[in-house]
């Protein structure tokens, strides 16, 4: 149901004459723009509240947090607030799920809008009741004085506020609004901070709700897209006769884009298996996998940025007596979402509706509009829960494929990938090499520190789907991605007096055409990669300086919140009394500080590392919901552990060989930790920052440091798989 439909269904367009005052204009519907209060909050005739959220929950309970914040500011019950997200007809483009900013950038606007709605409603009540605002209180949507009362429902239920808020003119993550109302001080919070339950658990557990894979449109065809067998290769010819025995099966081909469609899904699957396509062979697009890191080291630098530069590193190194140096390597990794992506599109001559699991549906709208040559307001994108999303995965490609195919065949089209589309053809997290160098003086003090990351850009294709050039259908039909050259540096506050943190990008392996090694954002883009190196390197320096890894970090960290999480995690884990096999790592991400202690056991015979226990200390400012926060952190730990121990995209000279769970193994439950202890540091005075990603970046180094503590051997190449463990132990 879109905004207009539900407003109609709820009687929103019925003009009531029971009362009127200036704050609420008549029933005309204002446009869906950030500068209208109605774009954020609606009060229904029964007093229920709808909050229109332009970011997305991917199963970590963000919508519960938003509901808590809105309930808090409006003084209504948590259960009275429904959060609608991901529908371009009901919400503004706040950037979708992006950079763990759901609460910090996303809910921040809802907090202001809800506070403003409350202010306007109380003012309206004051006019209606003839009682000064200062004599009114609000509880559960009822505005009352000593002897009079009214309700939000009576004041505006089913109508529009028609009230302006000040929009900063930005779209996406930077979107903000300003309002005269002042949100509550945290000391008055009654709903924020409570461990309230998620809204999406029951329907998932009982199988009663719909995923994007379950969207069915009458008359739709099922489609499967045929990806090239090798990187950048082109179609020579397609033998449509090869699928003529399959009822209703048809081929769509546009340049190097090939798909099969059929009324029955199984027929589309069979047609995809049986279709004969003659491809031009293009050999040697990729380097020898065994020499991947040599390729990275030797590659031309396309951009270098020195993000942190204090003092004069070069001259200190030139005369240093003791230098510690190390290099760390991280492979390409896949989103490998639980199911391959799915999308349904219904393209008409003058408009298109697309159902997508993309975490950025507003950008899907923009991309589909460009792809089909439609005005943006003629495309309606509707997010429906997908099979997991941790960044720019294959969902963006599926949405564009569906829209393209629907327009081609003039019918609604449902596209779903097969397993290899989610593992081999999703955009990859970039392979990279990290080099650390530190100078230590005679007293053991670190006098110079340098850390440089070099790798493929984390945005060869953009992090959203707003441009067809960043999708596989765009690449296959001859549009080259523009790409952005960007990587990153460690996020910490070590106060080394001479310090240089830098990154360098290298050219993509395939400049144009479809590549299964195109790179983009995967959960905490380049965070696990960089900190696998930097936080191991801090340990290596600490040991070279003869210091305990916790004490060393505390000695140099200059930000008190950073030091506080290190202290908290060491205390909770009982660091000083732990035996062999313990490792610590620390990092910040976007204002959130996190430290983790891993405790591992190493089986020298099998090469298995079992990370039996993790202790995490996490400070993301004000805590909205400790229950969903803790579980989000747990998910980060395990996802991070999987990427640390198991995950590596395999490839040969022209194709990706990781196509399923056998060729791209991830963590299974036998390797899950026994315990994850989480210490939440609540700082009500500090605006909340993200939790969806920060913890994942500290897991790899904590495990590698624990492995060193257990064995005396360093593992500087990820993943820390049994072969590498055995090789290290026998070296």
């Amino acid at each position: 149901m879109n905004r207009r439909e539900f407003m109609q269904a709820s009687g929103a367009l019925v003009v009531s004459s029971s009362f009127s005052f200036d704050a609420f204009a008549q029933a005309a519907k204002p446009g869906l723009v950030p500068g209208e209060l109605d774009s954020w909050i609606a009060v229904m005739p029964d007093g229920g509240v709808k909050a229109f959220f332009g970011k997305m929950d991917m199963g970590q309970g963000l919508d519960s947090a938003v509901a808590q914040i809105v309930a808090e500011e409006l003084d209504v019950g948590f259960d009275r607030v429904e959060v609608l997200m991901g529908d371009t007809a009901t919400s503004c483009n706040q950037g979708g799920a992006s950079g763990s900013t759901g609460v910090s950038n996303g809910a921040r606007l809802l907090r202001k809008a809800a506070a403003e709605a409350r202010r306007v409603l109380v003012e309206g009540a004051s006019n209606k009741l003839g009682v000064p605002v200062s004599d009114l209180k609000v509880e559960n949507g009822t505005v009352f004085s000593a002897d009079k009362k009214t309700t939000y429902a009576e004041l505006v239920g089913g109508k529009h506020f028609n009230h302006k808020v000040q929009w900063n003119g930005q779209t996406g993550n930077p979107m903000d609004i300003q309002v005269p109302a002042k949100p509550k001080p945290p000391a008055e919070y009654k709903v924020v901070g409570k461990p309230l339950p998620r809204r999406d658990v029951a329907w998932k557990v009982f199988g009663t709700g719909d995923y994007v894979t379950d969207v069915r449109v009458p008359g739709m065809l099922h489609a499967r897209v045929i990806r090239p067998p090798r990187a950048a290769c082109k179609v020579r010819s397609v033998y449509e006769g090869s699928i003529k025995a399959i009822r209703g099966a048809q081929v769509v081909r546009e340049k190097d884009f090939v798909a099969v469609l059929a009324p029955r899904e199984w027929d589309a699957v069979r047609a995809a298996q049986q279709l004969k396509v003659d491809w031009h062979a293009v050999d040697g697009a990729f380097p020898d996998m065994a020499k991947l890191y040599d390729h990275v080291r030797a590659a031309k630098v396309t951009k270098r940025v020195e993000e942190v530069k204090h003092g004069d590193v070069a001259s200190v190194f030139a005369k240093a007596s003791k230098i510690v140096e190390a290099e760390y390597e991280w492979p390409f990794q896949s989103h490998a979402s639980m199911g391959p992506a799915c999308a349904v599109a219904d393209a008409k001559a003058d408009r298109c509706t697309v159902w997508t699991g993309s975490q950025k549906p507003h950008f899907v709208r923009d991309g589909v509009a460009r792809l089909l040559g439609l005005p943006q307001d003629k495309v309606h994108a509707i997010w429906v829960t997908g099979p997991g999303s941790y960044g720019r995965n294959d969902a963006g490609d599926a949405a564009m494929d569906a829209a393209f195919l629907s327009k081609k065949v003039g019918k609604p089209v449902r596209v779903q990938g097969m397993r290899m589309d989610g593992t081999a053809w999703d955009p990859k997290a970039p392979a990279c090499v990290h080099r650390g160098r530190a100078a230590i003086d005679a007293s053991g003090k670190v006098v110079a520190y340098e850390f440089t990351s070099k790798g493929f850009s984390r945005q060869q294709i953009a992090t959203n789907e707003s441009d067809p050039a960043d999708s596989l259908v765009g690449l296959a039909t001859g549009v080259a991605p523009k790409g952005t050259l960007i990587f990153g540096t460690p996020a910490e506050s070590y106060g080394f007096e001479n310090k240089l943190l830098a990154w360098e990008t290298i050219p993509p392996l395939v400049e144009s055409g479809c590549s299964p090694l195109r790179t983009s954002h995967l959960r905490d883009p380049v965070g696990p990669e960089i900190h696998f190196g930097s936080e191991q390197f801090i340990d290596e320096i600490a040991r070279a300086a003869g210091e305990d890894p916790v004490a060393f970090r505390l000695k140099y960290l200059t930000n008190p919140r950073h030091a506080a999480v290190v202290k908290a995690v060491a205390e909770k884990a009982g660091w000083s009394s732990l035996g062999k096999g313990k490792g610590i790592a620390f990092a910040e991400r976007g204002g959130t500080a996190v430290a983790v202690v891993a405790q591992v056991e190493v089986d020298a015979k099998t090469g298995r590392i079992w990370a039996r226990k993790f202790t995490v200390a996490h400070d993301c400012g004000l805590i909205i919901n400790p229950l969903v926060l803790t579980q989000t952190i747990e998910g980060n730990v395990v996802h991070g552990l999987s990427r640390t121990l198991f995950e590596e995209v395999r490839f040969d000279r022209d194709s990706v060989k990781s196509v399923d769970w056998a060729s791209y193994p991830i963590l299974e439950i036998g390797d899950a930790p026994e315990t994850i202890d989480v210490v939440l540091i609540d700082r009500p005075e500090i605006a909340p920052t993200g939790a969806g990603e920060p913890t994942i970046r500290v897991i790899p180094a904590a495990v590698a440091n624990a492995f060193f503590d257990a064995t005396g051997k360093r593992l500087r190449r990820a993943p820390l798989d049994p072969e590498r463990v055995k090789a290290a132990l026998s070296a």
């Binding site: 557990v205 894979t213 699957v269 829960t385 099979p387 997991g388 579980q631 769970w661 439950i669």
Partner: protein, 154 residues
């Protein structure tokens, strides 16, 4: 194409399909059931898991002809919000799923394990659940929920 009779979540159904078509497509496309999911199509993840005469099977590779005459139970037939299976109640209590797409594999497999061995140890659970995937990393809360359900069952 051939006709097959089977029972799905307590209801008798008749299907017309190629014998080799996987049961998953019959459930999803012919019967319009949304809850078993396509995850891999090669029995490597469990997202499509249903019970066939009480045993967990991967519907993505089980030919529909092999299910003929048998009883299929999906997660929807395992329990309902009004009458949940103890594992479903425990999943809600522990707030286990994140994206939730993997859930059929874990719940249907664990239900079968607990049916035979309600007191399964941590090691037995981990072994019995091998092969299942969860990409959001909810494994620790999955084990918590199963142990909570064991507390109700034993």
């Amino acid at each position: 194409m051939a006709r097959y009779r089977l029972t799905v979540d307590g209801k008798p159904v008749t299907l017309t399909a190629e014998p080799e078509m996987p049961l998953l497509y019959a459930l999803r496309d012919d019967l319009g059931m949304n809850n078993p999911h396509f995850g891999c199509g090669v029995a490597q993840c469990g997202a499509c898991t249903v019970h066939l005469d009480g045993e967990p099977v991967r519907a993505c590779v089980m030919p529909v002809s092999a299910a003929a005459g048998k009883t299929v139970t999906t997660i929807k037939g395992l329990g309902t919000p009004a009458k949940p299976h103890p594992l479903q109640a425990a999943y809600v209590a522990e707030q286990v799923p994140q994206c939730g797409y993997c859930i059929n594999g874990w719940v249907m497999t664990a239900a079968a394990i607990l049916e035979k061995n309600p007191k399964a140890s941590d090691a037995e659970l981990r072994e019995g659940l091998a092969g299942l995937k969860c990409r959001c990393g909810t494994h620790v809360s999955i084990l918590r929920a199963i142990k909570r359900a064991q507390g109700v069952l034993t």
